[in-house]
């Protein structure tokens, strides 16, 4: 009798002949030598190389293939991560072998990839004509012909053109060319390219079983080159890749990419039905036939911030449709996390975020990019996640009726529950990507460093980095930190690799924002912002791992009490506000909150009782670290919201918004009234805007020219208030609310006999100008002041017998009695204000009459000391004045509650000017 298991399809595929060029140590070597155990493998982690060559490692093939169905069955779409027990595969360096053997031979190796079991082989051109002839495309062509009164042939022609523009022409020759050149380039650029081989094995099985969609993270152009390279190396079918059409701008390279399997999509084609139909059908045809794995980026574009972008749903819903319509039995979605120790485009990104436009992709640009070939970009980690069965995800979620009652080739708007499902899947996939992103020690360093600018002691940095490593691991972060590597070495090697961002100077680590000393203020702000944003790119890699506990920590500080509901409501608010900034699975706020609390409890930062959550003494460090980590976002959002609520009265477009808010933030930075450099990032600005749209505080309208936005001032203020309520919780770091003071009202010292003072009246009148209550330094007369000058002063005055000096000295003298005074009040006093300088004092004709016709008289003046108190006193960066003198209507006209226009005279220390 035949062995019963022999024909069971779940067994590993028949052994494939080894490739001769691989020298017996190829990546699949372990698979064929099915000996040893997983435990043995784990134990031998240290001696990887040796283990690999001995081939004594067990394959996980059987398990891997069986798992997709069984393990996840019935699992909810979102399951709380098992944070510590999470076991991840180990990495192998694929460059290692490339450094040892001939690239040419590698490129020319016998390449016979495993393919989908149901594949009916066909050429790229056959696919194209199948697409053109498909009912789907023909239907749209006929529809359009009818609507536009054109002949279908013309539209068919158009469809052909679209297809030619978009279609790939995968050729083995081009693939080999890439294999060869990429080997050279990658070896030059990167130290190691590490791959989890078990993931590749799982992928191999998945490809044979069902159509596969590869969903890599997108941080760099290298992503898809690398992924194709990887699949070639492992003898897997090369993917067809949805690439942005801008690649076609690169003449030769674009064509080469096309031959290597890229197909191109326009960035936006929402309105073009023909394009949509052709594109969707093209993708679906390739998927249905199992022609090749389809690869695209959920994030839609490269994340300039290294922080996962919120997913785009268009392509995902296209690749899911064949399953919904049951044209395929199942589809595997494979999340792939590609982590770069150093991102190739890091400085480009920073410039771009600051509004220096991105260079259009061009071949010459690429050639220039060759300069970077001499640079070192460290290690790449590629983690191929467990293939996720779409069928399992969908089980019980999809109402089949809509698909059964309409012919399948008719274009159909997805129902709401489908849309929701697609969005859920997209978020799930991104969370899976995030879970397996590899964090290098430098990421930790960057996170610590950013909280300790401008300089941090090296030893302290090491200590804090180590501490953060522990915390990150508690939170489930995937840190690649070689066991035997001491912290100092790890930090140092990070600094070496990223010497363009930070360096070690005199035992301190500082950001490289050269040019800080010279150059204009604006230039300095720009340079610093550049350095901060580049550094932030690395810290950002931690954020999605930290976001849940961190938002709980911030909510703890925001909430008026420690009651759970109140903390949760703050958390919920933050989660909503940051919904575009970080990746949250939709609709499970409470679960996120619980996870955050759980993690904080785990690291002893908080304790929870039935009703309350409160920070522990021990955990205050953690809590404040976490909130500091996310402070740039909290503050940045507030700045942006403030800009929107104050400055944007009318409808605006995103093109107007970005430069506007950038200037706004830039000015604040120049003045030194904020330190939030990250608010300059266009990414944050867009996210903040879209958060407001989602919160309903900004209305987004579709216009023929694009989207316009309308701010609901009140709603934005309300959101700002939510933040402000927490202002006292984080006082010293709040960079756009001025500090609060209590103002005391006192008459001036007795040696200056008081004139008429009317405290109450003053309080009333001035309350309109400033938020604070005013301090009334009762004004003395200039003469009296003069009389009181002592000998010494008189001498000095004699020496500097200028009017100018005299007056300033008098000013000083007068103020010295009460050095902290900020307002001097003396309505209608004949002596008038206390001038700072002799220059630029107003004549009577300079003071215009009130609107009612009455004369304006002096009422009070604001002293420059206020600048000190408000901490806007950095020279050359902040606003400045000598004194501000306010003149009001002598008749006190307009007794009502409305505001009246008054007159203010600004006198500076040297040169005055009027406002």
């Amino acid at each position: 009798m035949a062995p019963p298991m022999a024909r069971c399809p779940r067994l590993p595929p028949p052994n494939r002949t080894r490739q001769p060029g691989r020298g017996g140590a190829g990546p699949w070597a372990p698979r064929e030598a099915a000996a040893g155990s997983r435990a043995a493998r784990r134990g031998r982690a240290g001696e990887r190389g040796a283990g690999r060559r001995s081939g004594a490692r067990r394959t996980m093939a059987t398990e891997a293939a069986a798992a997709p169905g069984r393990a996840r069955r019935g699992a909810p779409m979102y399951s709380q991560k098992e944070l510590t027990s999470k076991k991840r595969d180990e990495f192998e360096d694929i460059l290692e072998e490339r450094r040892l053997s001939s690239d040419l031979r590698y490129a020319m190796k016998c390449y016979t990839p495993v393919i989908y079991k149901g594949l009916s082989p066909c050429k790229p051109n056959a696919i194209k004509s199948a697409v053109l002839q498909s009912e789907q495309v023909q239907y749209v062509i006929k529809q359009l012909a009818k609507e536009m009164g054109e002949s279908p042939d013309i539209i068919q022609e158009e469809a052909t053109e679209i297809l030619d523009e978009m279609g790939h022409r995968m050729q083995l020759g081009a693939v080999r060319f890439f294999a060869f050149t990429l080997s050279k380039i990658f070896k030059q650029l990167f130290q190691r390219v590490c791959v989890n081989e078990e993931g590749m094995q799982r992928l191999q099985h998945a490809i044979q079983e069902h159509p596969v969609v590869l969903l890599p993270s997108h941080r760099s152009y290298v992503d898809f080159l690398m992924l194709s390279y990887l699949l070639y190396t492992y003898d897997l079918a090369l993917p067809v890749i949805a690439a942005g059409i801008d690649f076609l701008g690169m003449k030769i390279v674009g064509e080469l990419l096309r031959r290597a399997g890229a197909f191109f999509m326009r960035r936006s084609f929402g309105g073009n039905r023909l394009y949509w139909a052709v594109f969707a059908e093209y993708v679906k045809t390739m998927l249905r036939s199992g022609y090749a794995p389809i690869e695209f980026f959920l994030e839609g574009t490269r994340s300039r911030t290294a922080k996962t972008l919120t997913p785009k749903f268009g392509l995902l819903s296209i690749v899911m449709e064949p399953f919904f319509k049951r044209e395929v039995f199942d589809t595997y979605l494979v999340p792939i996390s590609i982590s770069y120790e150093r991102i190739l485009e890091e400085s480009l990104y920073a410039y771009e975020l600051l509004g220096v436009p991105k260079p259009k992709e061009s071949t010459s640009g690429l050639l220039k990019a060759r300069r970077i070939l001499s640079d070192n970009f460290g290690t790449i980690h590629i983690y191929v996640g467990q293939p996720v069965s779409l069928r399992t995800l969908a089980s019980g979620r999809i109402n089949r009726c809509p698909y059964n009652l309409v012919p399948r080739h008719l274009p159909q708007k997805p129902s709401e529950d489908i849309q929701e499902f697609v969005s859920d899947v997209a978020y799930k996939m991104e969370l899976l990507q995030i879970e397996n992103m590899v964090l290098s020690p430098w990421v930790l360093v960057a996170a610590v460093l950013l909280q300790n600018l401008p300089a941090m002691e090296f030893e302290l940095l090491i200590e804090k980095t180590l501490w953060l490593k522990g915390l990150t691991q508690t939170f489930g972060g995937f840190i690649e930190w070689p066991d035997n590597l001491c912290a100092k070495k790890a930090v140092l090697s990070g600094l070496t690799l990223h010497s363009n961002i930070a360096s070690l100077v005199d035992g301190h680590v500082v950001l490289n924002d050269k040019g800080m000393e010279d150059g204009a203020v604006g230039e300095m702000v720009f340079r610093h912002a550049l350095a901060v944003l580049m550094c932030a790119t690395y810290r950002n890699q931690l954020l999605n791992v930290f976001v849940r506990p961190a938002l709980v920590a911030i909510a703890l500080q925001m909430a008026p009490s420690f009651r759970k509901e109140e903390v949760y409501s703050c958390f919920n608010f933050l989660r909503d506000v940051f919904s575009d900034e970080f990746i949250f699975f939709p609709g499970i706020s409470l679960k996120d909150f619980e996870e955050g609390c759980f993690l904080l409890t785990k690291c002893d930062a908080i304790q929870t009782s039935q009703q309350e959550i409160y920070p522990t003494d021990k955990g205050s460090g953690t809590v404040s670290f976490l909130s500091a980590m996310f402070r740039p976002f909290v503050e940045g959002y507030q700045l942006i919201f403030r800009y929107l609520s104050k400055e944007m009265k009318e409808a605006f477009t995103e093109k107007q918004f970005i430069p506007g808010v950038r200037n706004f933030v830039f000015q604040l930075l120049e003045k030194g009234s904020t330190q939030c450099y990250e608010a300059l990032s266009s990414d944050m600005q867009k996210n903040a805007l879209s958060a407001l749209v989602q919160l309903g505080a900004v209305k987004k309208k579709k216009m023929p020219s694009g989207f316009t936005y309308n701010v609901n001032q009140e709603a934005v203020s309300k959101i700002l208030d939510m933040f402000d309520d927490s202002a006292d919780a984080i006082p010293e770091h709040n960079e756009f609310l001025f500090p609060e003071y209590e103002i005391l009202i006192e008459p001036e010292e007795p040696e200056f006999p008081a004139d008429s003072t009317d405290d109450e009246q003053g309080a009333e009148d001035t309350s309109k100008g400033a938020k604070e209550q005013e301090e009334l330094g009762a004004a003395g007369t200039a003469d009296e002041a003069f009389q009181s000058l002592d000998e010494e002063t008189l001498e000095a005055m004699a020496k500097h017998e200028t009017e100018e000096e005299k007056i300033f000295q008098m000013f000083k003298k007068q103020v010295a009695a009460e050095p902290e005074q900020i307002i001097r009040y003396c309505r209608g006093g004949e002596e008038g204000p206390l001038w700072v300088s002799g220059e630029n004092r107003p004549e009577e004709k300079d003071i215009p009459n009130c609107v009612c016709g009455a004369k304006r008289i002096f009422e009070f003046q604001i002293m420059p000391q206020l600048l000190n108190h408000l901490q806007v006193d950095s020279l050359g960066e902040s606003i400045d004045w000598g004194t501000l003198v306010v003149y009001t209507c002598a008749d006190s006209c307009g007794g009502g509650s409305e505001y009246l226009e008054e007159f203010i005279w600004k006198q500076d220390y040297s040169m005055g000017c009027t406002l």
């Binding site: 009798m1 019963p4 069984r70 049951r326 999809i398």
Partner: protein, 597 residues
């Protein structure tokens, strides 16, 4: 037999019998715990070769040399591991018959024969679902009819229904007992006396109207008897469901049956001219026997598919046709299933489908091959080899991918030949290759024999079942592939140790779609609760069918097995419409088999 004693005997739970002449005759010829005739079954003979016993079928008495290997290869089954069914019914296990004495007196007064015998009651307590057969072999039903009655005519039925209303009893009509939808199972929670109303004695052809080509027939007549008796007058109905040897006319009406040759004769709804049904409200029928009428919704359509929930169909006027002059079988080999389906679709499009056209997939083709009897002469064997060589080598067909269509033509000799040519021409366009009459004939013969296979499987830890659906043309391929794949997956997930047999055939063609039939079987060794696992898999397969745009059932009906999907299938309102009919016709739920709704 105890059933036909001439004198009434005082009622005791197990042995009481009533009046009557020939009640339960059929039952003596049939297996009590399996399909079909007692004398016909698959066995392994002393040489270990498979053999089909009996003389009723063409395969009878033949040795099937490759069959054993096929079973072992397909199911991983071994002849050494055998399960045994109980040899006969253990009367002590059977739930007692609880019948009200007043009712019995009333019943006796009607002179309708009845029985409270355990075997009679158990025989009518089930259909032929796998779980029912499994229970017969290894356990006992929790609830069975308390009494079996054999009315011989319409009036008897009226009396029985009246008595049931009077005594508040539950009636479950029983025809041929071939249900595969748990329709005959007694609801466990039924507290009233359950009367099994066996229509088998109402089996006469009342009249034949040659001018209008109709015949009025009592509903209890079994398919093969009907055809045999009509043939004596030179007619036939042409209605040939696969179960026609045992299923009854009334059963066909009650389940909306479909026959193999529906392309010529139509399905039951096309054949029926008039129905007479006895309900608790009274008798429902039309006032004339016309081909069509516009008098509101057709009341026949309340009756057809009512699955015994409204009343008992007693007499049916059915269309008849002269027996066809000429019959010809045929078969076509296609390089793959896709091409085969495309060909069937084209045939349907051109509306030139022969009496029957079926397309079996590769697994079923292999199965049919395994059932090939030992060839009589070297010559046939040589011919077979030559054919095989031609198809696989010369034409490049892959024996593991190719599939076969079987054809049956009927009518005038000349027209049949013309028709045949037309169909083969179409087939050629789709890469089809004529594969001979013999293959076709064997294909149809296997349809009847295949039902016996399950009993053999059960002896060797293999359980299986068939189920069907209807589906639009454009979804046929996707549905077939997905359902088969789903079965394989579910088996894997449920811990079935050996890959299952999961195969299908397209068995009927229509203008807008097709009927697809699935066979599914697996080796359950190592599984503690095979029936439960089996039911889960079957349910998953049905879910898959529905998700692929297939129907809940093409002709098997809903019964109790598929009730859970009724709402989804016909909408809330639709279900409400059916309920309100039931409420009016049978407010006290006398016909309480709980099917359908």
């Amino acid at each position: 037999r105890k059933t036909n004693k001439s004198f009434p005997v005082p009622t005791t739970p197990c042995t009481a019998t009533g009046w009557g002449q020939r009640a339960g005759k059929e039952q003596e010829l049939l297996k009590w715990n399996g399909w079909g005739y007692n004398d016909s079954k698959f066995i392994f003979n002393k040489k270990g070769q498979a053999e089909f016993t009996g003389k009723r079928y063409r395969l009878g008495g033949m040795v099937l040399p490759t069959f054993k290997e096929w079973i072992e290869k397909t199911f991983g089954a071994s002849l050494e591991h055998k399960t045994t069914s109980r040899a006969s019914l253990n009367v002590n296990d059977v739930p007692p018959s609880i019948v009200n004495e007043e009712f019995l007196q009333d019943l006796r007064a009607t002179k309708i024969s009845y029985s409270q015998d355990a075997e009679d009651r158990v025989f009518r307590a089930h259909g032929h679902c796998l779980h029912e057969i499994f229970v017969l072999r290894e356990g006992m039903f929790k609830r069975i009819p308390d009494i079996v009655v054999w009315p011989v005519c319409h009036e008897d039925v009226v009396k029985i229904v009246e008595l049931a209303c009077k005594h508040n009893l539950c009636i479950i009509p029983f025809g041929g007992g071939t249900s595969v939808s748990s329709a005959l199972e007694c609801p466990e929670e039924e507290k009233r006396t359950i009367v099994s109303l066996d229509t088998s004695q109402m089996n006469r052809i009342l009249w034949i109207d040659e001018k209008n080509l109709t015949a009025c027939v009592e509903a209890g007549i079994v398919g093969q008897d009907l055809e045999k008796q009509l043939a004596e007058s030179g007619f036939c109905t042409g209605h040939e469901p696969d179960s026609m040897e045992f299923s009854s006319l009334g059963g066909w009406v009650a389940t909306r049956a479909s026959g193999m040759k529906k392309n010529i004769y139509g399905n039951i709804e096309d054949l029926v001219i008039h129905i007479k049904m006895v309900t608790p409200r009274g008798i429902v029928e039309k006032n004339c026997q016309v081909p069509r009428m516009s008098t509101g919704p057709d009341i026949h359509h309340f009756i057809m598919g009512s699955e015994g929930t409204l009343g008992v169909v007693t007499e049916v006027t059915i269309k008849i046709r002269p027996v066809p002059e000429y019959q010809k079988y045929g078969s076509v080999v296609f390089p793959n299933f896709e091409r085969g389906v495309a060909c069937l679709r084209e045939v349907a499009k051109q509306r030139c489908a022969p009496a029957s056209i079926r397309l079996v997939d590769n697994a079923q083709f292999q199965f049919g091959h395994a059932l090939k009897p030992q060839v009589a002469s070297i010559f046939t064997s040589f011919l077979d080899g030559l054919k095989k060589f031609y198809i696989t080598k010369f034409k490049g067909f892959d024996p593991n991918i190719l599939c076969v269509a079987t054809l049956l033509f009927e009518g005038d000799r000349e027209k049949v030949l013309q028709h045949e040519k037309q169909v083969y021409d179409i087939a050629t366009k789709f890469g089809g290759l004529a594969a001979g009459e013999d293959n076709g004939q064997r294909g149809y013969m296997l349809t009847f024999v295949i039902a016996y296979l399950r009993d053999l499987g059960l002896d060797y830890y293999v359980i299986g079942e068939s189920f069907e659906t209807s589906v639009p043309w454009d979804r046929v391929l996707d549905l077939c592939r997905n359902v088969k794949e789903r079965i394989v997956r579910e088996c894997k997930e449920k811990g079935v140790q050996f890959a299952p047999l999961s195969t299908c055939r397209v068995t009927q063609t229509y203008d807008a779609g097709a009927c697809v039939y699935f066979y599914f079987a697996f080796n359950y060794r190592g599984i503690s609760d095979p029936i439960h696992v089996y039911e889960q898999i079957e349910r998953a397969a049905r879910e898959e069918i529905l998700a692929n745009g297939g129907s809940l059932s093409h002709h098997h009906g809903v019964g109790k097995l598929r009730k859970r999907w009724m709402k989804e299938s016909i909408s809330d309102v639709g279900l409400g419409m059916l309920r309100s009919v039931k409420e009016y016709v049978d407010p006290n739920n006398i016909f309480g088999n709980k099917n359908l709704l």
